[in-house]
Each structure stands twice: as structure tokens, then as C-alpha cells.
Symmetry: C2
Subunit: 202 residues, 2 copies
């Protein structure tokens, strides 16, 4: 007998639905996603979504929280770490974030769009200000650059890291890049952003 199974054939029905929901929600966003889209993507009967997750909204909340975590958990530990130097933090944040986003290019636009559409539920789930404004990273920045609001520096770092992934659809639609070229650009971008950010805090 053939031991090889299609990737999702060994998944439970519940996992198949979540996997399909990840794909469709991330591509189209909550409002544009039809429950029938998810059922079709999963190759399952429509009613199973409600059987396992009660409602479209509940299913979405699960995926959304997962993705918010993914986006914040990748850098939060580096932000708060008290041991590593400022320059090492910059290196770590840069490489980790680009590595994560190259594998999940539509993650930033999805998460940031959906937070805009529903800021309340997000604010309860994640404590951004603890990570962002009270982190060790911020203290290090404030110490090194006492004349500059550290939030400005963080917005620049995250902007340089995240913005290309938000602008990717525009570049692609313009025919300026394809997937392969984009990944290559992001590969070389790790060194650049890291270098540039160190320049800003010098």
C-alpha cells in the first residue's frame, strides 16, 4: 500500500477547516470571505464549519489571534530581553522579521487591516504598549539617542521591515517584481536594514 498521503489527508477535519480558513481569510480578509469559500478550499461540507466552530466569526477570531501572535511573538522577546546589546537587538529583529515575513507575505496587510476593522477586540488580546513602549529596547534607544522619541525610531525600523510586504501587491501589479525577485530583494534587505538602523542610532 502507498504510505504517502497528501499533506492534509492526515489532518483532522477540524484542522482541515482551520487550514483552509487561514488561506482564505488571509487572502481576502474577513468581510470578503464567504463560508462557502472556506468549505470549498477545505474540500468539506459547508455545515462542518458550524459543527466545529459554531460561526464564521468564531472561526475568524481563532485564526486572527493566531496571526496576531505570529506577528508580535516574533519580535516581542527581542524587544524585552535585558541582556542583548542594542546592535544585537537590531540584528535579531531584522533577520527574524524578514525571515518570518518572507514565508508569510500577506500576514502584515491582513493583521493590520483587520485590526483597523475591529480595534477593540484586539486591544484586549495584546498589550502592545508593554512590548513597545516599556520594553528594554525602548530604554536602550532612549539612552543612546536622548534627543529623539524612541517611538520614532521604532516606527522607522518596523516601517523599513514591514512596508515592503504591504507594498508587494502594488509592485507585483505594476510588473516591477515577481515572487522570486521579491524574495531575493528581501534576502539582501536583511543586511541593509540592519546597517541602516545602526546608522540612525549612532
Amino acid at each position: 500500500m502507498d504510505q504517502v498521503l497528501k499533506a492534509d489527508e492526515k489532518l483532522t477535519t477540524e484542522e482541515k477547516i482551520k487550514e483552509a480558513a487561514r488561506i482564505v481569510f488571509l487572502k481576502k480578509g474577513y468581510a470578503a470571505t464567504k463560508t462557502r469559500d472556506i468549505a470549498e478550499q477545505a474540500g468539506l461540507n459547508l455545515a462542518l464549519l458550524n459543527y466545529y466552530f459554531r460561526s464564521k466569526e468564531k472561526l475568524f477570531e481563532i485564526i486572527m489571534m493566531e496571526k496576531v501572535q505570529q506577528l508580535f511573538a516574533a519580535i516581542a522577546p527581542v524587544f524585552t530581553d535585558k541582556e542583548t546589546s542594542l546592535n544585537t537587538k537590531i540584528d535579531l529583529i531584522t533577520t527574524r522579521y524578514i525571515d518570518l515575513l518572507v514565508k508569510n507575505t500577506d500576514l502584515p496587510l491582513f493583521v493590520l487591516s483587520e485590526i483597523r476593522n475591529n480595534p477593540e477586540s484586539f486591544s484586549k488580546a495584546i498589550h502592545v504598549d508593554d512590548v513597545l513602549l516599556k520594553s528594554h529596547f525602548v530604554k536602550q534607544l532612549a539612552e543612546k539617542k536622548p534627543d529623539v522619541n524612541p517611538v520614532q525610531l521604532i516606527m522607522s525600523l518596523l516601517g523599513m521591515l514591514i512596508f515592503p510586504f504591504i507594498a508587494k501587491p502594488v509592485l507585483q501589479a505594476a510588473g516591477a517584481v515577481n515572487d522570486k525577485m521579491f524574495e531575493q530583494l528581501m534576502g539582501e534587505r536583511k543586511e541593509l536594514v540592519s546597517k541602516w538602523m545602526k546608522l540612525l542610532v549612532r
Copy 2:
């Protein structure tokens, strides 16, 4: 008689609908917007939307093109101008963009989200690569920094400028800033980004 009229009372019905559509589409995006939301926002009968614009989609296309223009027209002339120096271009792009976005904070997230949802129609309407990749600005960057892909520098500049407006809902949800504080941050950011970008190309 009272000469003073409420702002939109002197507008034509058609303009009232467009104005309402701008507000609702920008806040919620195409898919989440109901034609009844727009009618209510405009204080008009639902059927008038179809009377004046035939369909939700047609109305959306008008608003969308308007906003894409707004987002690109603000910097395109500076990108292509052959007279101004590199440093002056950086100053102009920075101040113009932040000034524009402060008055239209949800413009970037709206435009970039909707382009992702419908890249084809966008690519026909705007020739990004002409402005971005063949512009005089790019040539100046390539000349000044021959060892760096100019696209990398542009992504950093636009990232530093645009990203804060995309992240604004997150910062607000986290209680890190309010509208007033954000505008103040962006005011002081003009100088900073301008200075930082010149540092990167030095």
C-alpha cells in the same frame, strides 16, 4: 433668511453620495461596506445610489481611482522632476507625504488593501514602474549609491513615511497614542525622516 448652510447642504445629490462613499469605503473597505451604509451616511434614499452610479462597484471604482491618484500624485511629480537635487527631493517627498497623510490617515491602508484584493484593475490604471523604477529620483539614487539597489532605498523612505499611518490603529487600540498625539508625532517626524534618509544616501 439664514445664509449659513450645513456643509453638504449645498452639494448636489451626486456629490453627497460620493462624499458619503468616500467616508464609508475608506473606513470599512469595499467588501464590508453595504450600500445601505452609504445611503444612511449621505442621508439619502438607497435607490439614488443606483440612479446616479448604476452599481456599488461602479461607485467604488470612482472613489478608488480618486484615492489611488491622491496617494501617487502627491509624490510622482517630485520623483520625475529632473531639476531638483537629491536632497531637495527627499525634503519635498517627506513633507508633502506626511502633510497629505496627516489629513488622510486611513488612505494608505485603504488603498493598499484594495489593491491587494484587485491587483489587475489597478495595474491598468496606474503605471507605477514608470514613476518608481524609471524616475529621475531612482537615477539620482543609483548614481549616489551605486552599490545599493535603489528600490531598497525607496522602500525604506516610503516605509518610514507610510508605515506609521498603517500602524496607527494598532497604536490607538493599545492606548499608546490618541489623535492629537499622533498628529504631533507626525509633525516632528518630517524633520526626522528627511534627516535619516539623507544619512542613508550619504
